[in-house]
Symmetry: C2
Subunit: 168 residues, 2 copies
DNA sequence: CTAGTTGCAAATGTTTTGCACAAAC
DNA sequence: GTTTGTGCAAAACATTTGCAACTAG
């Protein structure tokens, strides 16, 4: 009924992950060509790191990772490339309840998020019933639905175990 | 099954609204006394305007309105009072997909929001089935749910009518 | 009196932008 | 050779904070 995946839980650094990352890079280059935009070293470095991480990264985290392989890159290029990847439909931007945005690789299916308020861990889930219900509400409100955002906040199993004595 | 209310649609500026706003002010003063905090002119002005507006206001909008009745008040006091009202459980802070936060008076029942991407109008709705389903997902994920955020984005009926020829 | 409150200006943190230089097509 | 992309520093934006002056209890 519902698929559940923890952050980066699928293909943990394995060959499948690399293959997928390479596919994304190919797609990225194709999109650039379509738009007559240029393929450059900083752009490729940022995109490659982003696809390889494939978690919910912040610009800051991505910047730090990119610096390791290309210390020359500036923050502005990080943000510009993130926006470009978004325009290319390869990235989606999320604003959870923190100051900074988080970015994730666009996958095959839509999903929503659970965010642990203690450790920040992000779990993804999918539920067709909820999707259906949202469409019902849209009909009832007489509006056209473009997109939605469902975020659950709470405490993950690990943190609940750790906090056990103090909180329960 | 589900209650639906447009922004400020209930008690449009009528006596019921004023009565409710006064009740909130009384509650606010009670909460201040409990905490041994002071009741001051700027605080009261901000709270009164906030309760009277009772929409999804931004700090900027609230500041502008408060300035009209007390031009002396600064931005810092707006933010400090918003935080205070939140701590008192009289206000809830929302971060829709804009840069700035929006604040609303805490009412009797929990509700979620639809936001029109064209005109910015905000509709509120309530749906017990969705609430139930979220609890199911939390159980499935093995997490403890503290709160959630469900936002639908799209085009309201009015904007759809206006855009009719161009878009549909 | 004394702790809490205010307004201002300056600081903050994240993201964007102007611009001169550099690199791709 | 153009056009596009880059890095840097500065700007922008919403929000927070330090501080000296003020005021409610």
């Amino acid at each position: 009924m519902a698929r559940i995946a923890a952050d980066g839980e699928t293909d943990v650094g394995g060959p499948a992950k690399n293959r997928r990352a390479e596919q994304r890079m190919a797609l990225f280059h194709a999109r650039l060509r379509e738009r007559a935009l240029k393929s450059t070293a900083p752009r490729d470095d940022i995109a490659r790191v982003f696809f390889a991480l494939s978690r919910h990264v912040s610009a800051e985290e991505l910047y730090a990772e990119v610096k390791r392989i290309n210390p020359h890159v500036g923050y502005a290029t990080i943000y510009r490339t993130l926006k470009l990847l978004k325009d290319c439909g390869l990235l989606s931007e999320r604003h959870f309840d923190e100051g900074q945005a988080r970015y994730e690789v666009v996958g095959e299916h839509h999903h929503d998020h659970f965010i642990c308020e203690d450790c920040g861990r992000i779990l993804e889930f999918e539920d067709e019933a909820i999707e259906r219900m949202q469409r019902n509400i849209a009909r009832r409100l007489g509006v056209t639905l473009h997109r939605h955002k469902l975020e659950l906040y709470g405490r993950c199993a690990d943190c609940a175990a750790k906090a056990g004595d103090q909180d329960l």
